[in-house]
């Protein structure tokens, strides 16, 4: 064997298992589902299926799916917005204001819930938000006679639960971006006469934009595909596209329609990435 053939074999042996695995579990399944989305019968039915566009037609012609899609996208926006609103100042405080041991301790405390089960965290909100839950009881204790507050099974409940689930992502990405900003840049801005706010707006914010954008992408994508969280916290209110897809596969067993809806969801995700990508490119460079 010549050295180049040997190298080629080495590369093939090293990458082969991982990519064969990914082909069989990600790429071929996606192709299979794309094919199924154009068929008129579920594979569960033992009859030959034929080509149809009805599954996509159903999505665009029935008014039923628009509110689901709209709510899924809105949910993505609200959760990303609240994660940014709460997470960015926290990341800023950690990266620029708190030093030493405290920073490490708080940082660890913020990423720690990350390593606990996502489902369990969503479940735990039901105990906080329901009537006679912790929120309700604290309000009653402070304002005796106030009307009972039952937030469970409502739109806000879903937003609160998902914000809680994904907040660490935003803090993490913003923290990494903010920490990389040299303090002397801020000092330079200040000494050249800019106010603290202007320095923030013209120096800190643009430099930390890649962190914000990657955090947004990391949050938006899973949130618009979510079905478990809206089901546990939203109950019958606020059905998402994800919940409907899940039902097509588990309850009504209409796999072709479910496949078409999955690809529509995927298309939305790709559009979002397309919008966010230029910002990442421009600001992040190779990073």
């Amino acid at each position: 064997m010549t050295p180049t053939t040997r190298t080629r074999w080495a590369i093939l042996t090293l990458t082969g298992p991982a990519y064969l695995w990914l082909a069989c579990t990600i790429f071929l399944p996606l192709l299979a589902m794309l094919a199924l989305s154009f068929l008129d019968k579920s594979p569960l039915v033992p009859k030959p299926a034929s080509f149809t566009l009805d599954n996509y037609g159903a999505y665009f012609s029935k008014g039923f799916y628009w509110p689901l899609t709209l709510w899924s996208i809105q949910l993505g926006f609200w959760v990303t917005f609240f994660c940014l609103l709460i997470g960015y100042p926290a990341a800023y405080a950690l990266a620029k204001r708190i030093k030493g041991r405290w920073r490490e301790a708080i940082f660890l405390l913020i990423v720690l819930p990350f390593w606990s089960n996502a489902l369990v965290r969503i479940f735990s909100w039901t105990m906080v938000l329901r009537s006679n839950g912790i929120v309700d009881m604290s309000v009653q204790a402070m304002f005796p006679g106030a009307p009972s507050i039952d937030l469970l099974y409502s739109y806000p409940a879903v937003i609160i639960g998902l914000t809680h689930s994904y907040l660490p992502y935003m803090i993490l990405t913003c923290y990494i971006a903010l920490q990389a900003i040299d303090d002397s840049l801020m000092e330079a801005g200040r000494s050249l006469g800019a106010t603290a706010f202007t320095t923030f707006r013209r120096v800190v914010l643009p430099l930390s934009l890649p962190g914000i954008i990657s955090g947004a992408a990391l949050i938006f994508v899973p949130v618009i595909g979510s079905f478990m969280e809206p089901r546990i916290l939203g109950g019958t209110k606020g059905a998402t596209l994800g919940m409907n897809i899940e039902e097509q596969f588990t309850v009504t067993a209409n796999w072709p329609l479910g496949s078409a809806l999955s690809f529509i969801l995927l298309a939305i995700v790709l559009i979002i990435f397309g919008i966010l990508y230029p910002f990442l490119r421009k600001q992040g460079g190779e990073a």
Binding site: P29, I106, P113, V120, V128, M137, H164, I245
Partner: protein, 271 residues
């Protein structure tokens, strides 16, 4: 003024932490509370942990989760590390494409990937004449490894990038045999990355709900799937008990790892 500002910042961080930990603490509280209806006042009791010890379904699901997570860690870490070494140590045509292919498993919602796997596995199993094979623990393992591989390749790859190939070449030039190069240079470089990647792979699998949910046939479940089923049937504090155990164990492990990692980092820095 400065002191006031600092106080405000600290107060804000405390509020964020309260938000992050409130539901977890509430859940643990009710795990130790006697009432089956999550009613207060609090009355300490271990009744739900005792009930849990006799709940074979939940325990079986927990064992399944653990076994799949361990198998996933071994497979994903080995194959992922191999691919990362190929990317880090060789230049070849198609490398950029292969690396780009790692993004879909991360960027596509799990719901889409999970349902796609269900469709493909169903067709494949039927074509092979064993339709029952479409779902099950083996299918769940297939899915988990696919999700873990990109993370492993990124984590190990990041580590390799910090240590250029010349280190290995230098060792070889100085007379080390290929085995010595591997044992004395490559392994120490890779080790911290591989350990971190393995932890990642374990966490990805042990936490994974969506993929497992679609690939679990009736009667065979992993812990998250079983918890979800129980929640939908109606809440029971047994779920609190097992959740409290999971959270305590996983957070405890992370704390240990965080400590270990700091020491590890410092030591390798001094060498």
């Amino acid at each position: 003024m400065k002191r006031l500002l600092d106080g405000g910042i600290r107060f804000y961080l405390v509020l964020v932490l309260v938000f992050l930990y409130l539901p977890i603490l509430v859940m643990a509280l009710f795990a130790f509370n006697k009432s089956p209806l999550y009613a207060l006042p609090f009355e300490f009791d271990l009744v739900w942990f005792r009930a849990l010890a006799e709940n074979d379904k939940l325990l079986k699901a927990g064992l399944n989760s653990l076994l799949i997570a361990l198998a996933n860690t071994v497979i994903a870490t080995s194959f992922g590390t191999m691919a990362a070494v190929a990317f880090g140590r060789y230049a070849f045509r198609g490398k950029t494409l292969l690396q780009a292919l790692l993004f879909p498993p991360i960027a596509i919602p799990w719901l889409v990937i999970g349902t796609a796997m269900l469709v493909f596995f169903f067709w494949t199993a039927r074509a092979m004449g064993v339709p029952g094979m479409a779902r099950g623990l083996h299918a769940i393992l297939l899915g988990h490894v696919a999700l873990s591989l990109p993370y492993v390749i990124f984590v190990v790859g990041a580590r390799l990038n910090d240590y250029p190939k010349v280190l290995e070449e230098a060792a070889a030039t100085l007379g080390a045999t290929p085995w010595q190069v591997f044992r004395r240079v490559s392994v120490p470089i890779l080790a911290p990355g591989v350990v971190a990647a393995a932890l990642f792979a374990f966490a990805v699998s042990f936490d994974q709900f969506v993929i497992s949910y679609f690939l679990a046939p009736p009667g065979v479940t992993t812990l998250p799937v079983e918890i979800y089923t129980s929640i939908r049937k109606g809440f029971t504090p047994e779920i609190n008990a097992i959740s409290t155990i999971i959270i305590a164990v996983s957070m405890g492990l992370m704390l240990i790892v965080a400590r270990f990692y700091r020491f590890g980092g410092e030591r390798s820095g001094n060498e």
